[in-house]
């Protein structure tokens, strides 16, 4: 009975502190959100206006979509630093395609290609990451560092570093469309979250994903196809990053490979962690990640709307990440 205990970690907090920490962890996200909203109502001018809601939804959607994918990768005990670069790549490809002679000649086909090819390219990046991690067994940080740097490089080479502006209403619907008066990408993010939630909770893939993150050796010994599942997680993550990249381009009606998705990996990791994902793996709170994304976005908005410089916002974000990881660090003990 006590074999389990002997190898337990030596560090134990006092019961009261532990309980307080546990409560904070369980409901920390919602509490933080509530506090943020209240603070904003109190200090931010024009916070309770529809326009504010629209702005935040359209911003949060991309973070949420990437964070959902990041949550899957983190659930395997991995990490994907390349999501921002993948966004840039997908975002650079789309205008290249519908602005190409082919895209101009066949607008409809060009539009379809402008959605599908960038996503395929993004998923190819995911395949590469998956290959590095699950076949070559490179640590995920290092493996995804490769595309983190060269993915954006490829995007910039493709566009020669230029800002590509365009006017293509059908494509821009992705970023500017409305359904029931709310931004299209908000609905898209929710739909994707629902889909991935279903994947995690109801399918073989999801169960395997959590088993691998929870105990990879046990999973392998139980016949779980570890490689394939990891491939799946990285490919889905990259695919979602690709969608986010397209949304950003659609919102701006312009693609800037140097800026699209810049530092998105941080937002996504922060959102996933704030949402309750364990960096060691074994947990995939999808809607938690969405909540985390909302919190990250609100923090950004709060600082911005109150005239705090962007640079200070960076520091705030760093602080949030460390605190979130710190709070969940004790969880396994």
């Amino acid at each position: 009975m006590s074999t389990r205990l002997e190898s337990a970690s030596p560090a134990t907090a006092s019961p009261a502190t532990a309980r307080a920490l546990r409560q904070l962890r369980r409901h920390g996200g919602l509490v933080a959100l509530l506090v943020l909203v209240l603070v904003n109502i109190a200090i931010t001018p024009n916070f309770l206006q529809l326009q504010t809601l629209f702005v935040n939804i359209s911003q949060v959607a991309t973070i949420a979509i990437v964070a959902i994918g990041m949550t899957l990768v983190i659930a395997t005990g991995g990490i994907d630093l390349s999501v921002g670069a993948v966004m840039a790549l997908a975002g650079a490809l789309a205008p290249l395609i519908f602005l190409s002679p082919f895209g101009v000649a066949y607008p409809a086909l060009g539009l379809v290609a402008a959605f599908t090819l960038p996503l395929l390219a993004a998923m190819a990046c995911g395949l590469f990451n998956g290959f590095m991690v699950s076949v070559l067994r490179v640590q995920p940080i290092i493996a995804t560092l490769i595309l983190f740097i060269s993915g954006r490089g490829i995007a910039q080479v493709l566009t020669n570093g230029n800002l590509q502006t365009f006017s293509n209403p059908s494509f821009s619907y992705l970023g500017t469309g409305r359904i029931l008066g709310l931004p299209f990408q908000g609905w898209l993010a929710l739909a994707l979250a629902g889909l991935v939630y279903w994947l995690v909770t109801r399918t073989l893939f999801g169960r395997y994903l959590l088993a691998i993150g929870g105990n990879e050796r046990a999973a392998r010994l139980s016949g779980v196809p570890v490689r394939r599942v990891k491939f799946g997680a990285y490919v889905i993550c990259a695919g979602l990053a690709g969608i986010a990249g397209l949304i950003v381009v659609a919102i701006n009606s312009a693609s800037d490979a140097g800026r699209n998705g810049n530092l998105m990996e941080l937002d996504a990791i922060a959102a996933a962690v704030v949402g309750g994902a364990l960096l060691q793996g074994g947990r995939a709170p999808i809607f938690g990640a969405v909540l985390g994304a909302v919190i990250i976005q609100l923090v950004k908005y709060t600082l911005l709307a109150n005239g705090v410089e962007d640079e200070v916002a960076l520091i705030a974000k760093a602080f949030i990440i460390v605190v979130a990881v710190y709070l969940q660090a004790g969880r396994r003990e």
């Binding site: 006590s2 337990a8 105990n215 016949g223």
Partner: protein, 508 residues
């Protein structure tokens, strides 16, 4: 009587609210070789780690060399004269032998610079006392586990210790090396150093130790002079059983040797070898029988299981299960093999997952359609197993980490039974579970075999093998060396078969 060198009294320790030690005590006299024994999970390691400052005690008093001990880190323990050789090798294989022996205590010149020539010389000299002559500049990892073990001991002894703690020091040593070690231990005793000796091998205690402390369920249950006790008495203390009861009847529920064994061959390994310390395995399992695999730690039992399950690639020979050769776990499972691993925590449970998810992990492909898990069927299956195996859990969605060891083990057994395997490989299925759960698990295994399936049983507990298995294949140094048939196997016969050097088959 003199003042004891070490006196630990009333030691309590709990992890996450669960008691690991309850009022444990330990006394060691100067110049004494003292054994601490107990089953897995009895609290031996926890007690040692508290003594050496790895864990902090919740309550209790430690007196070392007549003074209350304030040790709070391994470093402080070393500096105050307590050296430890842990069960898991606590060395750095990539670094040189010299570094491993002298790390943290390097000879220095000018106050900070390592004097490598002197470090090498000192290391050579220390190792020479053990009769080891090796290149001390080479990385430690390039030597055998036995040498590494002796290097660890050399390091501990070289630190001018007054108390040397040895946790299972002989588990990876051969007979000759054990003799070397015993020589060192006796030398330590002669020079007035005390030794705390933890071992599973009771015979060793009678050869080398002066006295013994027996632990059970986190408590100290007995302290005796070795000369005044018997092996059976110690076993009775360890198990918490009445000594006459053990003499009278068997201790297992497996019923070996009583089964009809006319079944067809289920598994056959011929001269199978992997590059993982399995050199030659010959093994046959028929339907309806339990075949035991016996041998010391490191004899290749687990490696044999891994080879059968397709985890390690065969370098030579063949493994055939119903005519197939599994190449990986997934194909082994599909072919009808289940493998309950030795290390429940590292290779068994997925702690964050529920009992339900743990039970169905291996059988999921059968429970899903088009990638979607059919929850109704899953719940029904788990419900049935919880009932039939008597798994004590609040409900099937309780995280498995909250269950007791015995119930975790039953859940893992259910994981494999759910796949309806025809061959079950059980590696230490009853280790670290309480006696009640042990008997239940053995009963489950017996029923399973009675349905015409085969079991390959690996166990360090001789009773379990002697009374449970129909045949026992004995392993030594990666070779299957002999086979014993039930009925007729006695514990003595098995011990002899394990200990005896089988010339001609296993090279020295």
């Amino acid at each position: 009587m003199t003042t004891p060198l070490l006196q630990m009294t009333g030691i309590d320790k709990a992890f996450a609210g669960v008691a690991a030690l309850t009022s444990a005590s330990l006394t060691i006299e100067p110049g004494e070789i003292h054994a601490v024994i107990g089953q897995n999970g009895a609290g031996k390691s926890t007690l040692i780690k508290i003594l050496t400052g790895v864990y902090r005690r919740d309550a209790g008093l430690i007196m070392f060399a007549g003074k209350p001990s304030t040790i709070s880190s391994p470093r402080e323990a070393q500096d105050s004269g307590i050296s430890t050789i842990y069960q898991e090798l606590t060395l750095v294989p990539l670094r040189s032998v010299t570094e491993n022996v002298t790390l943290g205590y390097e000879p220095r010149i000018w106050g900070g610079i390592i004097d490598w020539p002197r470090a090498h010389a000192r290391t050579r000299e220390i190792l020479a006392r053990f009769g080891i002559e090796i290149d001390v500049r080479a990385p430690l990892g390039s030597y055998s586990t036995a040498i590494q073990q002796l290097v660890a001991i050399a390091r501990a002894v070289s630190l001018d210790a007054r108390l040397v703690i040895m946790d299972e020091p002989t588990s990876s040593l051969d007979d000759r090396e054990v003799e070397v070690l015993f020589g060192v231990v006796r030398g330590l005793k002669a020079s007035g150093v005390s030794v705390l000796y933890v071992s599973h091998f009771l015979d060793e205690l009678f050869r080398i130790c002066d006295s013994v402390t027996v632990m059970r369920d986190g408590r100290t249950v007995a302290r005796k002079a070795i000369a005044e006790t018997t092996k059976l008495e110690l076993i009775a203390d360890m198990l918490g059983r009445d000594i006459d009861e053990i003499r009278a009847d068997g201790m297992t529920e497996l019923g070996g040797g009583q089964r009809d064994r006319s079944g067809e061959v289920l598994l056959e390994a011929k001269a199978a070898a992997t590059d993982r310390r399995l050199h030659r395995l010959d093994l046959i399992v028929h339907r309806g029988e339990i075949v035991g695999l016996a041998g010391l730690l490191g004899s290749g039992r687990t490696e044999a299981a891994r080879a059968v399950f397709g985890l390690d690639r065969l370098q030579k020979g063949s493994v055939s299960f119903k005519g197939q050769a599994p190449s990986d776990p997934a194909s082994a499972i599909a072919a009808g093999i289940g493998y309950l691993t030795e290390d429940r925590k590292a290779e068994g449970i997925v702690p964050e997952m529920s009992v339900r998810e743990n039970v169905t992990l291996a059988v999921l492909p059968k429970l899903s359609r088009g990638g979607r898990i059919e929850r109704g069927r899953e719940r029904a299956l788990v419900e049935a197993f919880i009932k039939s195996l008597g798994i004590k859990t609040a409900n099937m969605d309780q995280p498995i980490r909250e269950l007791s060891g015995g119930n975790q083990q039953k859940a893992l057994l259910a994981r494999w039974l759910a796949t309806e395997p025809e061959l079950l490989i059980l590696d230490e299925p009853t280790r670290g579970v309480d006696v009640g759960a042990k008997l239940e698990i053995q009963a489950i295994i017996r029923d399973y075999v009675a349905r015409g399936f085969g079991v390959l049983l690996i166990s360090s507990e001789f009773e379990e093998l002697v009374e449970g298995a129909d045949r026992i294949t004995v392993m030594q140094d990666g070779y299957s060396v002999t086979e014993l048939q039930n009925p007729g196997i006695t514990e003595n016969a098995l011990v002899k078969a394990i200990a005896h050097h089988h010339r001609g088959q296993a090279p020295a």
